[in-house]
């Protein structure tokens, strides 16, 4: 049962030498063998390497104890978009299907320095483009709570792996909600740090001004622990910010009495499922009972966020994905000349959603259209950011549903890209504004029993506040006690 524990629960037992890192890793591998045939959270798992890391962790524990290594012996699974040396890095795309990474991302170096066992390549939407993990070139991941439903995306594999206890924690990436939305749909905690809080060195870039790496965990305390390990300035990422890293775990103590929490009226709209609304209303009531002051606020440019995102993110993606040209790495389909080689390689190597976004991005940046689309979108982005900065003058955090509905069925939205995009409405503004956000479980739909997530948004570098509120809420509820029954 070791695979069902949290980081804190395992660390305590590992520290007391009651259990070994090898036993923990084996427990996760056994769970993967039991359920991943159906869930498909993992694209690959290097068992030998994982167990070797576990052995090394046990030796370290015996020699020195865990001091200074807060994740010693903890198995952490990795979204297949983050570079791990000598492991595959496919981004769930055919164009990289044989690529082996020659280096570790900064976050991987940090996890290793903290003693974590870095293992597995988690399934995702191809190049992080999607909200359901149905865009993976290697088949979808299924929601552990209902195998006919999506786990969310693009970090669907990372979320499902934690929900199904196939790992103790995992890493994902979030560009428009790709950590928070799958966290909500899979009933786990997912955190998107402030832009610049965590290094992007070694993260395959989708949209460089929006991407952030963040953790999936089973509870808020574990998320705080993970963030402390992952955060920090990195000279190899010129967009990382030299902001000191606080002790996030210390911030979890104490009451939220007197904190002001904003409820944006534009988020309580039609299209919001009644059960989701009811769960979020109940959660807000709990926060009020804990002494928080609930304040109605307005984020007036909310309705433009999806449009702005699909101009800026696709434009940046079209530039970032230009490097996949079949020359230096990845799949190649040859041609009579380089241009033909590029066209054939990219045409056959990329999936339909990726091609759609590259085309849209190329169009909005093209001569004659740049001002009307890209420049205009960047200006509306300023307005969206200002909405949040103004709100944070009046409140300490903002609370919203994470998603408008619980998990939908596989295939339900995959034919209508626009419908899929609109389901990101609550998460997308956070990336545009560069602020931090997390999703914490706040209930279930009645039938079928599907998780519902509560989103907390914080000011830039305000992770302590949203973690504190999430922890206080979590202490009052026991949603975590429910586990999916995987047939």
């Amino acid at each position: 049962m070791l695979h069902t524990f949290t980081i804190s629960e395992l660390s305590a037992r590992l520290g007391r030498r009651e259990i070994s890192a090898r036993e923990v890793m084996q427990s996760c591998l056994d769970q993967i063998a039991r359920v991943d045939g159906r869930i498909h959270a993992f694209l690959s798992v290097d068992e030998a390497d994982a167990l070797a890391q576990a052995e090394a962790a046990d030796q370290l524990l015996a020699r020195e104890g865990a001091a200074g290594r807060p994740l010693l012996g903890i198995p952490v699974a990795i979204k297949d978009v983050i570079a791990v040396k000598n492991q595959p890095l496919t981004c769930a795309s055919r164009i990289l299907d044989r690529f082996i990474s020659p280096y570790d991302a900064t976050v991987i170096e940090k996890l290793r320095a903290a003693g974590a066992i870095v293992f597995g390549r988690c399934n995702m939407d191809e190049f992080a483009m999607g909200s359901s993990t149905e865009n993976s070139a290697f088949g979808p991941t299924r929601n552990p709570w209902d195998l006919e439903r999506i786990p969310g995306g693009s970090s669907g594999g990372s979320a499902a792996a934690v929900a199904a206890d196939e790992c103790i924690a995992s890493l994902g990436s979030d560009t428009g909600g790709s950590i928070r939305q799958p966290a909500a749909l899979c009933g786990v905690v997912g955190l998107k740090p402030t832009y610049g809080r965590v290094s992007r060195y070694g993260l395959v870039a989708f949209a460089s001004s929006l991407d952030q790496i963040g953790p999936f965990t089973k509870n808020v305390a574990d998320a705080a622990l993970m963030l402390r390990v992952l955060a920090g300035h990195d000279p190899r990422d010129s967009t990382s910010v030299p902001e000191p890293v606080p002790n996030y775990a210390a911030a979890l103590e104490g009451e939220i009495r007197g904190l002001k929490i904003g409820l944006p009226k534009e988020y309580l709209i039609g299209g919001l499922d009644a059960e989701v609304k009811s769960a979020v209303d109940a959660a807000v009531k709990t926060l009020a009972e804990l002494g928080a002051e609930i304040v109605e606020i307005s984020l007036p440019h909310t309705e433009y966020a999806v449009a702005v995102y699909y101009i800026i993110a696709t434009a940046e993606a079209s530039a970032n994905l230009a490097r996949f040209d079949g020359i230096r790495y990845g799949r190649r389909v040859t041609g009579a000349d380089p241009v033909e080689l590029y066209c054939r390689t990219r045409g056959s190597g990329f999936g339909p959603e990726v091609k759609r976004r590259i085309i849209l991005g190329t169009y909005v940046l093209s001569s004659g259209y740049y001002d009307a689309y890209y420049l205009r979108a960047q200006k509306v982005r300023t307005l969206i950011r200002n909405d949040f900065l103004n709100a944070f003058k009046r409140v300490d955090a903002i609370v919203t549903p994470t998603t408008p509905t619980a998990a939908f069925k596989l295939g339900e939205k995959s034919d209508d890209p626009l419908q899929m995009y609109l389901s990101d409405i609550f998460t997308i503004s956070c990336n545009l504004a560069g602020i931090c956000g997390l999703s914490v479980p706040c209930g279930f739909t009645r039938s079928p029993r599907l998780p519902i997530g509560l989103q907390l948004l914080g000011r830039p570098f305000g992770e302590e506040t949203i973690l504190k509120i999430a922890a206080a809420y979590e202490r009052q509820t026991d949603w975590r006690k429910a586990r999916p029954e995987i047939p």
Binding site: R98, I100, P102, Y103, T194, Y195, G196, S209, P235, S238, T239, V241, H301, Y304, A307, Y310, S318, A322, I327, R328, Y329, G330, R331, R332, G335, A336, D337, P338, E340, L341, Y342, C343, R344, R346, G347, S348, P352, K355, R356, I358, I359, L360, T362, Y363, S366, Y373, L375, R376, Q378, K379, V380, R381, T382, L383, R385, L418, L432, A433, G434, P460
Partner: protein, 95 residues
């Protein structure tokens, strides 16, 4: 109107993406609908508003212009589709 002017073959060429005729047709329609949706941005008053390229207030992050170790050649070639004599092999570029 944006959708009508959308020349998918031209854009695909710019993006170096080969599309099948079927893909061209399907994608054109899908992108047309998305572009129609994006039109709502035209109604926003953005006069006097500065664009945000980057959400964080950092400017001109530099490091000293000094040669530092980088990926060894063998590592850099490891994933090469076609390599010859320690070089990436490509089709003829210049006639």
């Amino acid at each position: 109107m944006a959708a009508a002017e959308f020349d998918i073959q031209y854009i695909a060429r710019l993006a170096r993406l080969e599309l099948t005729p079927d893909e061209e047709k399907k994608m054109s329609a899908q992108l047309g609908r998305i572009l129609d949706y994006i039109e709502k941005l035209r109604t926003v008053d953005v006069s006097e508003i500065e664009p945000t390229a980057h959400a964080v207030p950092l400017v001109n992050v530099t490091r000293p212009d000094v040669v530092c170790p980088s990926l060894p050649r063998e590592e850099a070639l490891r994933n090469a589709p076609v390599q010859v004599n320690g070089l990436f092999m490509v089709p003829k570029i210049v006639e």
